[in-house]
Structure formats: structure tokens, C-alpha cells
């Protein structure tokens, strides 16, 4: 660590000296038509025809060309679907120049033309050591009972991402629990990023600019979670003119409005959606679907100056629903109505100081969640709110760059657990976390780029501080690309769930009940190849080790009362993806193998199962999954199909039920009622049936006068009406299936 800090000091001190003899050119690249940041624009400096240096813009449309020798150059910016932009630029020694510019669509003036060029890091098979960028166009390829598609629908098609059902709103990413996934929307943590019904995220896909998914091995910038990161960047809103859309579909309807508040400077993007499932889909299939949910999103974005931007974001979502209405009426059940509220508010200030060659980003945010589940004596609730402050700084070092930052967060937690998770503090807790990180990208040569980093994560309430080394590497070798990542991660604020009962979607947010902070290590290695111009193939393997987890104790007392037991986890898996892209056809085949094993220690299980450590596959251990996606453009229609397959998930079988009488000495058994007990067999020793489903949608967009567009969509979810099991209630032997065949028709008017 001491060597690392020394190196950091040398770099920080040395960088300005080095740059004093050279120049730095940087700025934002935006779309001329709406002022939106353009990601993936190739920006190069040419001396005549000689390439001097070059880069690609990031998610903010930001480019930076550093350590440029003084002189006069041609700046050339190219991007698929946009007219090439060239400028003459003269740079002097030590100059730090901010040059932001706009790019025009090649079909400028024909606003209806949609640009669908291949952008950087995107494509389902273009996975880079667990990282994958998802664009709105990718999302639209997935059939959905909604005109706009949804991010969660896309994520559910990724190998290694397991959804236990189309209700519950939880995704397990490469073996990690939903509460081990860090979800960020413009850098603001969001506790519950998906709605209770599994077709929808807590925000519409219309607002997404790009969703960066790190299924593991993420860089040192991210901390506080064990498994994965979903980092969503939202659009800024049109700074030239007002636009909007209104959509109606059987599950959810919504509206979006965006436009300039100060033309060219300040924009607003606002969206609101609400469920119509009880009035729509429920009647279509004649089945009770007691779900109510809505979400609202507002973003203000301002170009404060040529070299700085400010965005203010607010996202709110609400869910209320009953997974199993029959069970909710059963007073012996701990199931019932689940509801949760989410709020994520924050601001992000991005600046390019004119006097020093850095980029600085400041994020302040406040996130909160409140969830309740059940009723009566089994009612439970949990509240969490978190204030975050973070500063991130990027230094430009020629072909490489170095980033460092500091993050502070304080989280307030309180719960009413109704007997669940005994031993967990339910009174108000305040947990503070601090993180300092530094990471860099080093072009080693021969196409190899290594991104080492380290994070110092401090958890004062546990009196623990950890050094978390991280590294990512990409090696381009012709058409082949080899990737790898590794790292160590810690998470103190954890979400406790009772996975013994698939119908229990309650999450209690709390500080880790164990004295030790939960930790994980990741190891990822992958290979991809551009086999033909239209086909890409990738393979990626991964391993994760999880320590100091707290899981529901294995107890014979059903439902209401449970303690916690410590557990260790191990995840092993591999993904294979084959992606084919042409102008009119898109195809994706993927397969994922995953194996998740937990080892739990609990005194009592020694007597029942004959060993002190109990090894089992948790209920999200889906060994095999496959997806086939086919998109066709036929006669002006977009036809999208998706077929999903998943092998059966583990569940616990039992020998039955009885009453347990505590004979603590001579006891009169005629007056002792006893406690009802479930005679569990080996935990998660059974497997549910396989899951598969075919979804199809057909969509056509028609254009009218001006900029008005009408999109009609028709689709069928679960086309062959497969009775996919959601869960079986082992207490009552009742079977709850996932959604049946659901036809849908949607309409969207954009103007």
C-alpha cells in the first residue's frame, strides 16, 4: 500500500509538470438536434494525415486529448450516422483548452431518422470481463407487454442473470443476491430498481442513455456491494425543442415530456408511469393480478458553462401487490401484501477546470426505501435512507488517465420484523462508510490495456478498514479479444431475506449482524471474437467467493420466527454468447452455466443432518439457462421474439408437518399444545420444473405531419401458455404459477 501511495503522489505531482510542456484539449460533444451528449464519438487530432492522438467520448460526451505537442492540428470527430466534424485547432505549450462542439445527423433536417449505429462497448456478445453496456435500442429488441420495452426485460435475457419469477422484482446476477447489487441512476443509489411485477424497472427505458452492467469484477470507483453494479446514465432532455410521448399498454401507461427551459442551456426531462394492470392485463387473462405500481422521474440538466454541467435528478417509485392472494387471506401465513417505496434524489456537477488538467465530478445524493410485507402479527417493515457525497477526479496522462475519488455515506436503518431475523437490531441504526480509491488505465502495448485500482473501504461501526485491490485487463489481438478482471469487495449494509420461502419478498435492510463485514472476491476471464463482420462470439468464465453472509436460519418453526446463521458462498459459472447483426435481422443465442453453493454453520443442523456444516444450493442456483432472441424488420414492421429457458431452481422438500412438544422434564402432554413444525428434508434438496417461455411482439411506427409518430404494438407473452411454476407453497401444497399467455396491444404517440 505504501508503494502504491508513493506512486500516486509521484503521478499527482508529476503530471502537471509533464503537462506544462504540452497542451490539453477537451470538451463535450453533443447532438446538434437535441443537445444530447454523444457517447462513443471518435475524436482524433491529425497533423496532415498523420494521426497524432485520439480518443472516444464517454457517457457525458466528454473527450480529452492530453499531452499534445504545441502546434496546429485538424480535429476530426466521426460517429456512425453523423456528419464528420473537422476543425482547425492551434494549441500552445501548457494550454488547457475546452472545445465543445455539436455534431449533425447525416440526415439533418429529417428528425424522424433514428440513428442506430454500433456504439462503443455495446452488443450482447461484447462483454468485457463482466461489463456490458446496454442501449435503449438493445432493450427494444426484447418483446415486452409495453411499447417501449424495459431494461429489466433485457437483463433477464442475459446469461448469469436469474429471475426467480415474473413477480417479485428481484434479479440475481452471477450468483449474487439482489441486495448485493449496486444500482445507480446517474450516480445515485436506488435500493429497489425494479417493480414488483417483473416486466418493469422503476424508471422507463425512454430516459436511459446507457445502462452499464458490471456483473462482477468492477473497478475501484464502486464500493459497498458484493456482487454487481448496474450504473444507469439517463438522457439529458432535449435542449432545442419540446418533445414528448404518451403510451398506453395493458400493464402500464405513461407519459414523457422533455424540452428546453433555457434553449441550448437548460433542459428538463420528466416522465410518469402508472400501472393499469388491474384494469388491463387482469381482465385480458381473467386472473386476479392485484398489483399497483407507479414511478416518476425528473431530470434538470444545465450546461453551466462550456466546461461544466449540472444535473439534478429525482426518481420515485411505489409498488403494492399480493403475489398470492389466496395465501394472503390465510391467517396462518406470513405472506400477504408487499409494498415498497423508493426515492432517489441527487445532483451531479461535472467540471473541466480551465487552470488544471483534470476533470472533476461531484455527486450528492439522498436515497431512501421503505418496504412492508404481510399483515397482523407477521407484519414486517424496514426503512433505509442513505446520504451520499462523492468526488471523482480524472487526471489525463497522455494515452492513459488516472482517476481517484472519495465517497462518504451515512445510512439510517430501522425495522419492525415481527419475530423474523431474531437478534437483528431493529431500533434506529446509523452506519457510516467511507471509501477512497484510485485507478488508472495503462496501455501496456501489443493491444494490452490494464486497469489496476485500489479502494480503501472503511466501516467505522465495525472498526474495520479494508484494502480492496481491483484489476481489469483487455487484450486485443486482431479479431480476438481476451479480457479479465479480479477484485475484493465488502458490504456492511446488507439486505436480509428469507429465501426459504419464495413467496416472501420482504427485505430487511440492516447492518451486517455478524461481527465481520461481509466480503467477496471475483475472478473473471473471457474471450470474444469477431468471427465474421456480422457475427460475434464470446465466452466468459467467472468465480466468486462470498464470506460472512447472514442467511435465514434453518429452523423447523415455519414462517414466523427465525434467526440468522452465518454462511459462506461460492459461485462458479460461464457464459457463451453468439450475436448476429445485419440491417434487417438481429439474432442472439446465449447459454449460461452457473453453480451457487452456500455453506452454513448452525448448531441445530448438526443433529438433524448429521454434520456441523450444511452445504446447499440456494434457491437462485439456476444451473442452466439459455435465450434465443430474433429480431426482424419486415415490411416496415419490427418483429421481435424471445425464447427463454431455465433449468429448475432449488426448493426445499419436507417430510410433512407435526407438532413439536418441548419435553423439558416430566410434562403433561394433555395440556401441552406444542408448536407446529415443518419436517424439512435436506435444504433446497429438490428442484422445481424447468422454465421456458416464448414472447413475441410486432411493432410498427407511422409518421404524421411534423414530428408526430404513432407506434402500434401487439404482442403475446408466454405464447404457448407454458405453466411455469413460480413457487409451490410447501405449507399448503398450493401451486402458484407465473403469468400465463397474455396478449397485449400498446399504443404510443410521440410528438
Amino acid at each position: 500500500m505504501r508503494r502504491f501511495l508513493l506512486l500516486l503522489l509521484v503521478v499527482l505531482v508529476g503530471a502537471p509538470a509533464a503537462s506544462a510542456q504540452t497542451a490539453l484539449l477537451r470538451g463535450f460533444v453533443t447532438d446538434d438536434s437535441d443537445g444530447e451528449a454523444l457517447q462513443g464519438v471518435n475524436v482524433v487530432l491529425l497533423d496532415g494525415e498523420r494521426l497524432v492522438t485520439g480518443t472516444a467520448t464517454d457517457g457525458d460526451g466528454l473527450y480529452a486529448l492530453s499531452r499534445v505537442e504545441p502546434g496546429t492540428y485538424t480535429l476530426r470527430a466521426t460517429f456512425i450516422g453523423y456528419a464528420t466534424r473537422t476543425e482547425r485547432i492551434t494549441l500552445s505549450a501548457g494550454e488547457i483548452r475546452v472545445f465543445s462542439f455539436r455534431m449533425q445527423s447525416e440526415a439533418a433536417g429529417l428528425d424522424e431518422v433514428t440513428i442506430e449505429g454500433e456504439r462503443e462497448g455495446t452488443g450482447a456478445a461484447a462483454i468485457v470481463a463482466g461489463f456490458q453496456a446496454v442501449r435503449p435500442q438493445d432493450i427494444e429488441m426484447i418483446p415486452s407487454p409495453d411499447v417501449s420495452g424495459d431494461l429489466v426485460q433485457y437483463m433477464a435475457t442475459l446469461p448469469g442473470v436469474v429471475s426467480v419469477g415474473d413477480q417479485g422484482g428481484q434479479l440475481f446476477i452471477r450468483g449474487g443476491e439482489p441486495t448485493q447489487n449496486l444500482a445507480l441512476i446517474d450516480g445515485i443509489p436506488i435500493y429497489q430498481p425494479f417493480h414488483l411485477i417483473g416486466f418493469y424497472s422503476a424508471f422507463p427505458s425512454d430516459i436511459i442513455q446507457v445502462a452499464n452492467i458490471y456483473a462482477g469484477g468492477y473497478g475501484a470507483r464502486f464500493g459497498g456491494r458484493l456482487s454487481s453494479v448496474l450504473d444507469i446514465s439517463t438522457r439529458n432532455g432535449n435542449k432545442r425543442r419540446f418533445e414528448g410521448n404518451v403510451s398506453v399498454a395493458p400493464f402500464m401507461s405513461g407519459a414523457l415530456l422533455e424540452g428546453p427551459i433555457l434553449p441550448g442551456r437548460v433542459s428538463i426531462l420528466a416522465s410518469g408511469r402508472m400501472s393499469v394492470i388491474e384494469q388491463g392485463a387482469s381482465r385480458l387473462i381473467d386472473r386476479d393480478l392485484p398489483y399497483t405500481f407507479d414511478d416518476q422521474f425528473v431530470k434538470l440538466h444545465a450546461n453551466v458553462s462550456e466546461g461544466s454541467t449540472l444535473s439534478i435528478v429525482s426518481n420515485r417509485s411505489y409498488d403494492r401487490g399480493t403475489l398470492d392472494p389466496e395465501s394472503a387471506a390465510d391467517t396462518t401465513s406470513n405472506r400477504g401484501t408487499a409494498s415498497w417505496k423508493n426515492r432517489a434524489n441527487g445532483l451531479r456537477y461535472l467540471m473541466l477546470p480551465t487552470s488544471i488538467p483534470i476533470q472533476a465530478e461531484i455527486i450528492l445524493s439522498y436515497s431512501e426505501t421503505s418496504n412492508t410485507f404481510g399483515a397482523g402479527r407477521a407484519a414486517r417493515s424496514s426503512d433505509a435512507s442513505q446520504f451520499n457525497a462523492g468526488a471523482h477526479v480524472t487526471h489525463y496522462l497522455g494515452a492513459s488517465e488516472m482517476r481517484w475519488g472519495i465517497q462518504l455515506s451515512t445510512t439510517s436503518l430501522s425495522s419492525e420484523l415481527g419475530g423474523q431475523f431474531q437478534g437483528v437490531s431493529t431500533s434506529g441504526e446509523y452506519i457510516t462508510e467511507a471509501g477512497v480509491y484510485v485507478e488508472t488505465g495503462l496501455p501496456v502495448g501489443f493491444g494490452l490495456r490494464i486497469e489496476p485500482g485500489v479502494r480503501l473501504a472503511s466501516f467505522p461501526s465495525k472498526s474495520s478498514t479494508f484494502l480492496e485491490p481491483r484489476v481489469r485487463a483487455v487484450w486485443d489481438l486482431g479479431a480476438h479479444r481476451f479480457t479479465g478482471a479480479a477484485g475484493i469487495f465488502h458490504q456492511e449494509v446488507v439486505g436480509l431475506t428469507d429465501r426459504r420461502d419464495a413467496g416472501d419478498v420482504f427485505t430487511a435492510w440492516t447492518a451486517s449482524p455478524l461481527a465481520k463485514v461481509p466480503s467477496a472476491w471475483h475472478l473473471i476471464a473471457g474471450w470474444q471474437v469477431q468471427a465474421t463482420p456480422w457475427m460475434r462470439f464470446s465466452v466468459e468464465g467467472y468465480r466468486k467467493g462470498l464470506s460472512n453472509l447472514s442467511i435465514a436460519a434453518w429452523t423447523a418453526y415455519p414462517r414466523f420466527n427465525t434467526g440468522l446463521q452465518p454462511a459462506e458462498g461460492e459461485v462458479t459459472g460461464a457464459d457463451v454468447r453468439l450475436e448476429m447483426t445485419t440491417d434487417r435481422v438481429y439474432g442472439l443465442l446465449n447459454y449460461g452455466y452457473g453453480k451457487v453453493r452456500y455453506t452454513a454453520q448452525q448448531e441445530a443442523i448438526r443433529y438433524w443432518y448429521g454434520r456441523p456444516d450444511l452445504e446447499f444450493s440456494p434457491p437462485h442456483d439456476r444451473r442452466h439457462q439459455a435465450n434465443a432472441i430474433l429480431g426482424l424488420k419486415v415490411l416496415g414492421f419490427d418483429v421481435n421474439t424471445r425464447w427463454q429457458f431455465g433449468s429448475g431452481l432449488p426448493y426445499s422438500q419436507s417430510l410433512g408437518f407435526d407438532e413439536f412438544l418441548l419435553l423439558a422434564g416430566p410434562t403433561g402432554v394433555d395440556t401441552l399444545r406444542g408448536d407446529t413444525r415443518v419436517l424439512y428434508a435436506q435444504p433446497y434438496g429438490g428442484r422445481l420444473p424447468t422454465y421456458h417461455r416464448l414472447d413475441v411482439s410486432v411493432e410498427r411506427t407511422m409518421r404524421f405531419r411534423g414530428t408526430t409518430r404513432l407506434t402500434l404494438q401487439a404482442g403475446v407473452t408466454n405464447l404457448y401458455d407454458r405453466r411455469n411454476l413460480f413457487y409451490i407453497d410447501i405449507f399448503t401444497l398450493r401451486r402458484l404459477d407465473q403469468l400465463p399467455l397474455i396478449p397485449s396491444v400498446g399504443i404510443k404517440v410521440a410528438y
Binding site: E120, Q530, T581, A604, F660, L663, G665, D670, A681, P689
Partner: protein, 333 residues
Amino acid sequence: MPYPVPFRPNTPRGNPLRRVIAPLLLVIAAVVGTGCEEAVYPIIETDRRYSVYGTLDMNSDRQMVRVIPIRETIFGDPGELNVEVRSIDLQNGKEYAWRDSVVTFPDGLVGHVFVTQKRIESLHRYRLEILEPDGEVVTWAETTVPLRPRATVARPTVATSPQGYVALQRLQWADLPKYPFEVTYWYRFFSYRGNRFVDVAMPHVPGNAKSLDVANAWDFVVDLVADRSVLDEEYPQWRGDPLAGIGMTVTLLDDAFVPPGGKFDREVLSEPGTFNNVEGGFGFVGSVGRFSAEWVLPDSTARVLGYNPLGGALRALHAQTLTAEGTELVTVR
């Protein structure tokens, strides 16, 4: 965004996927064809049929056990239980029939308590069997009734000290392999007001219980002076009534009546099979014996301690009372 690295395929014109689509559709159709529903049944078949709980009691003429059928759902409504319960004294082969006695608990749960009018004997081994209508024994358990221990009481030692008297008396239980499950002791007075004997349970167990060097024996040392202080402070109403005797009861459980870890911890013991001696089911059937001994303080010691000794006529009545109770009158030696 730190990680995207350029990797941009050139997208050609044309449709070279035609060759791929048809096989893909065929694969999907083939798998769809296998889309028949798969049944799932979460109850594993087992030969464990009933849970049985009960403690055979040496001190009772009536024995009882609770028989709970292992059912498939959580709802506990066994209704009629069509089984027979019998016990066999394995010492002599005698069989005893048990009859079903249905009890309904406050929450409506029905319980089947099987009872038999029979005393059990020390050191006898009993086998309890559950038989289904076809006569097959599906569930059974065995228990050996604890051995009756023998009590001996030594003469009290009385000495004087600057603080006053020191008076100790030693009670030894022989044939007692482990510390009893429960120990109680009392002072018995004759109440002239009620014209009857009254026991005053002492709030504490005599200290210094220890295992003797000889096997299977436990010593209890009674601090007679300390007890006198307790009686004066907490039970002053007995002051002046004659002291009939001092007694102790030890409750013994059978050798198998030992919870894992030594504690009757509900969370641990509720795990199926944890505290279990029932074959073909779950639960525990044990046996218990309570053994009592009482002795009379020598008159001289009683007077030194401030008690009135029992008169001659009452002594005979005292002996009769103990016999009727089954309490052994131990001679102080």
C-alpha cells in the same frame, strides 16, 4: 465511463443470416414441443408416520402419551386417528392397551392423548408401539425407568463459634449415577391451627452437593442454622409449631432423557431428530421417577436450633402420613 474500449464491427449490407434463422426456429420449435407441464410434489415419502411425546411416570397410576400423525400440510386437523397404541413390559412380556382421549386446545387444534391405567416399575424397560389398522407396528419407542436411589442421613454436627451455632447435616443418595433432574426439600411442621402436617418448601436447594468417591452417590449438606434463619424471616407463622421432619425429593429421568448440549433449548430441540428416540417417527418417550426421603432431627439438635420437637402421638401420625405419601422415613444414623 471508464471501461468501454473500442471494438466496433463493420456491419455489412445484405442478409447472411438466412441460413441461421431456419435452424434456430427449428431448435425453438423442438424445445417448445417439450413444453408440457411438469408436476412437482414437495412431500418426500417417508416411513416415519407419527410423532410421539410422553413421559411414563413411576409416581402415577395413569400414563399418557401424545400421538401426532405426520401430515402433508401445515393445517393441523388430524380428526379421527385410526391407530392402536400398546405398551409392553419387556421385563415380563406383559402388554397393556392404551385408549385414545381426544383433547381440543384453545386454538381448536385437536390432540390425541393415549392413556393407560398402569404403574410402571423401577428399572423395567417398556416398549410403546403404534399399530395401524392392519396390525403393523409403524412407530415405536422404548424407555427404561430410572433406578430407585437409597437415602441415608447422618447425625447432624453441632458446634459453637463466635458467631453462634454451626449445625450441618449430611444426606446421601446412593444408586444415583448423575445429578437429579430436580431437587426440592422442605421442613414439615405440625399445625395446631389446622390440625395437620404442613410442608414449607425451602427456596433453595442444599449446597455442597457433590459426587462421592464411591460410584453413583451424591451428597447434600443441609445447613440447619441457615435454614432456621430463612424460616424465621420468610415463614414466621410456623414459629412455635412442632417440627416433624426435614425432607428431600429427587426427580430422576431415564438415561436417554438428555438433550444434546445438555440444555433444553427449544430452537435446538425442535430440529427434527435432534432429541429423538422414536423409531418410525419423531418425538421422545421417556420415563421419570420422583423419590422422597424425610428424616427427623434429634430432639437435642431441634431444641438447640429453636424448634419444638414433635410429641409421641404425633410421631406415629407423622409416620403414617409418610407411608401414605410414599415418602421414605429415613433413620438418622
